[in-house]
Amino acid sequence: MFAAELLASSLRMAVPILLTAIGAVFTERSGIVNIGLEGMMIVGSFWASVGAYFYGPMMGLLFAMMAGAFLALIHSVTTVTFRVNQVVSGVALNILAYGSSRFLSLVIFGKATTSHHVSGFNPVDIPGLSNIPFLKPLFADISPVLIMALIMVPISKYIIEKTVFGLRLRSVGENPLAADTLGIDVFTMRYAGVIISGMLAGIAGAYLTMEHTGMYVEGMTQGKGYIAMAAMIFGNWTPTGTLGASLLFGFAEALSLRAGEGSIVPYQFIKMIPYVLTLAVLTGIVKKSTPPAASGVPYDRSTG
């Protein structure tokens, strides 16, 4: 029972990381680094509260996606069209996301740091599996967004590996000049990659607000957008690898919450687990990491 509880908690903690990390796969595969994912998650969490409060959970989800996509659009315009340094643009967007959410929260809800209570989707039971007592925590009362996040993994894998769109996306991330000479519109593909990442990060934010907490609280993303980037790298720029990495990070988080006061290890060390794991993963343990060749490199037709 404890094991199932721990896994269920890991899964809940992994969902926002997973959704954002899949988004990161799309944007990086197209050749654009998106540090702004954290910001897109923030606007997602805020706009989900607006949509859900006034029009219900479906609109909450939609608002969050649109907000994430809008921020991603700005990122595309600056980095793809104007070839601004991608990290600088991403950092600027994070600040913009933080500031605009605070400002609009004050305008819409009359308080800067929290929204009103909002309700999410009704939790669902997985037929059959939710009746097995041992597995109940894993399959009963599941958020539909959680299921959606898991389904996104094979779907993304299919899109990236098997479709024409995916092939083109990958080619502009590996060698945009070659892709361009073959008639692929590098700019459109990169816009698409970045905007998909913004939409997914927005959904991740909506999950936090609507499904997990039932309210927007400023700063509730707690750096999960950055952890998602680490998960994407650890997952070697693939959706399935990202799933494994996200679950690992979720597990570390859930474990650190479960290791209580009574243990011999000092409290502060237990709270460090997820961060130490991130560092460990990124420095040594990754065997071979193969980023897209043109990731982070702006494409200019006149110079290639």
């Binding site: 509880e5 700005i74 933080y98 500031g99 809800f109 800067a112 509730m220 707690q222």
Partner: protein, 366 residues
């Protein structure tokens, strides 16, 4: 090329505007009315009171909202000019905001939360003519002639009562506590609560968890909810939090599992959703609103005094909440709680405020 440049420029403007919107705190400059300039009526000048919130900010339905309530009440009663400001996410600009208000001619300025302690000490020295109120913190070595008034609470005494309420209402004999940032202040809530539970039922099993070790722990409802779920799965059926806006997650978890929760600082039944209301047993009231109001009142009457002021059970500075939503739920244990309250006030029960005192307290129970 022209259009691209124009686009780039407008983007820059958009980003800058976003920054300004986010960082720019609105300080309402006193509206200068040209009409009043001619008439010399110095008495007509409104007293200006400013307040800077702690992390979590207004809308945490708890600590900061309580301070806001006190400020608003004073504004109505005394016709003040008031401003309330929220520090940025990590609270790095606390000191700037205090200074901003002081420079802007505010007469009395509050810092809400123990994290203001050093900042108020510093700014108060720079502005000797301005009075400061510090909630939950103690600036060292000041007396009644100081321009700082430290407003403190016996959180452990109030927590003791809700701890007893939790133990009396628990069917499983297991009760839980979730703290925000691990710090001596929050430990007062924790050990007072645990002591109350053990006093009411020596066999009760208790859980304690903290969200984190930084100020961010007061605005992480995601983690607080997971901690609450963990305690509930372990059998806990009454949970209490002292974690600011994070506690929203705990109340959510308790409600979803039909377990009872206890709010903190403000009466959290009043701000809960209709779904949550039946599951909020009570709230540990920390009357930050009263302390703010009393301090402003004293100032308006010219009786402001520096130094330390401690609010406890005896002067209703702390207590437990009874309202139309929990009346029925709590009525059977109210006589018992009031009896305990009387004992604490009389000094028959010495409520522990830290770990050592708590362990000592446990030995006296046997």
């Amino acid at each position: 090329m022209k259009i691209r440049e124009l686009l780039a420029l407008s983007l820059v403007v958009l980003l800058v505007l976003g920054l300004v919107a986010g960082c720019g705190q609105k300080v309402d400059a006193p509206a200068e009315e040209p009409a009043s300039e001619g008439q010399e009526e110095p008495e007509e000048k409104k007293i200006k009171v400013g307040l800077v919130y702690d992390i979590g900010g207004r809308g945490d339905l708890s600590f900061n909202d309580s301070a806001y309530a006190g400020l608003k009440r004073a504004e109505q009663d005394f016709g003040l000019e008031v401003t309330d400001l929220e520090p940025s996410g990590g609270g790095e600009d606390r000191e700037q905001l205090l200074r901003l208000l002081a420079e802007d001619g505010y007469d009395l300025i509050f810092g809400v939360g123990f994290m203001f302690t050093d900042h108020i000490a510093k700014v108060a020295e720079e502005f000797p003519d301005v009075k400061f109120g510090l909630i939950d913190g103690a600036v060292e070595d000041i007396d009644s002639s100081s321009n700082i008034s430290c407003l403190m609470f016996k959180e452990h005494e109030g927590s003791f009562l809700v701890g007893a309420a939790a133990a009396l209402k628990s069917e499983s004999g297991k009760v839980g506590f979730i703290g925000g940032m691990k710090s001596p202040l929050i430990e007062r809530f924790e050990y007072g609560y645990l002591a109350g539970a053990k006093y009411a039922n020596p066999n009760v099993e208790t859980f304690s968890d903290y969200v984190g070790t930084t100020g961010d722990a007061f605005k992480d409802p995601v983690k607080a909810k997971e901690l609450a779920l963990k305690q509930i799965k372990a059998g806990g059926d009454v949970l209490y939090h002292a974690s600011g806006a994070s506690g929203i997650g705990m109340i959510e978890a308790a409600t979803a599992n039909k377990k009872l929760s206890i709010g903190v600082d403000s009466d959290q039944s009043l701000t809960a959703t209709d779904e949550q209301k039946p599951f909020i047993l009570t709230s540990m009231m920390k009357r930050v609103d009263n302390s703010v109001y009393e301090t402003i009142k004293a100032f308006v009457e010219g009786k402001f005094e520096g130094g330390y002021r401690v609010f406890g059970l005896d002067d209703d500075g702390v207590g437990y909440a009874v309202n139309e939503f929990n009346e029925e739920l709590i009525s059977d244990i109210q006589p018992k709680l009031d009896e305990l309250k009387a004992k604490v006030i009389k000094g028959e029960i010495k409520v522990p405020a830290d770990k050592n005192e708590y362990e000592e307290f446990l030995t006296t129970l046997k």
